[in-house]
């Protein structure tokens, strides 16, 4: 369990550069299968409309997984993640087309704690809107 990022090499304000992650309808179907969350609002336009939603939505947990990935890719070893938490502030609408929705994630080291731990704050947007609020991960660096 060794992060490839050293605690002494980061400071408050160190940035995790923004990345774009496309989410298409097929990704939602695949996530439904892998996670066991078959709520129809994540794959059926009819179900989404019946529920009064603006369209088929990505699973919140898929958005959270996508945001968390910025951190796990940064440290290399996902076992370095000690805590991760998000609030889902806006839905990620995924149209049934080739492009789907592009989710952008960037991060910044917000705090350095003891025991080589740091807190990374994540900013996650789709179509310019923040889809996660208070998104933070605590990771142990080497």
């Amino acid at each position: 369990m060794t992060a490839t990022v050293g605690y002494d090499d980061v400071e408050v304000g160190t940035e995790l550069p923004e990345r774009l992650f496309p989410l298409r309808r097929v990704d939602l179907v695949r996530y439904a299968g892998a996670s066991g969350d078959f709520n129809a609002i994540h794959w059926s336009d009819r179900a989404a409309a019946d529920a009064g939603l603006p369209g088929v939505l990505a699973h919140g947990m898929l958005t959270m997984a996508t945001a968390t990935r910025l951190v796990t890719d940064w440290v290399g070893d996902p076992g370095a993640v000690l805590e991760v938490g998000v609030k889902f502030s806006a839905p990620v609408v995924v149209p049934d087309d080739d492009e789907g929705a592009a989710v952008s994630v960037r991060g910044v080291v917000e705090k350095k704690l003891d025991d080589n731990r740091v807190v990374v704050t994540l900013t996650t947007r789709c179509r310019g809107e923040k889809v996660l609020m208070a998104a933070r991960a605590t990771v142990r660096l080497s």
Binding site: D27, N39, A51, D73, P78, E83
Partner: protein, 152 residues
């Protein structure tokens, strides 16, 4: 229809241990589009000091009992799955979940409160192995849209 407050405080426990398998981890990692070798390659995971494939942190959501960690199929709870959206999610891990783990998850509905016309359900999860090792805890907030009664 409003949710049934009688369910607050109840525990829901996996009826059988959740057996974490390598293929399951690989499929979950593929589903989140993540090719981290520690999710896919046993040798890479072992070289990094893990006993087997590592599961992504949010994989924990798959190990909750039933759908949403709640007795959603019990009409007495009164939860309409189609009206539910996820409000918040948090996990704290003592160690990562790895292939071969056998997890027992206890989900506790800690509260239902009305916020405007919505109802907010807070559920906590405790993930232990069958040998009693505490792996992780989680907190989940769900929003049941439009099911709170209008204020008099």
């Amino acid at each position: 229809m409003s949710l049934n407050q009688d369910f607050v405080g109840r525990n829901f426990v996996s009826p059988v241990p959740f057996q974490v398998g390598r293929e399951q981890i690989r499929q979950f990692a593929q589903a989140i589009g993540d090719d981290n070798p520690l999710y896919h390659d046993v040798d890479a995971a072992k070289a990094a000091g893990h006993p087997d494939l590592v599961a992504p942190p949010t994989f924990l959501i798959t190990a909750i009992p039933g759908a949403l960690g709640l007795p959603t199929d019990d009409p007495a709870l009164g939860l309409d799955y189609a009206l539910v959206v996820h409000g918040e999610q948090r996990f704290a891990l003592r160690r990562p979940v790895v292939a071969g783990d056998e997890l027992i998850t206890t989900s506790t509905l800690t509260g239902i409160r009305a916020v405007g016309r919505n109802e907010v359900l807070v559920t906590t999860y405790r993930y232990n192995t069958t040998s009693g090792e505490e792996i992780a805890v989680g907190t989940c907030t769900l929003v049941s849209r439009g099911t709170a009664p209008p204020r008099a």
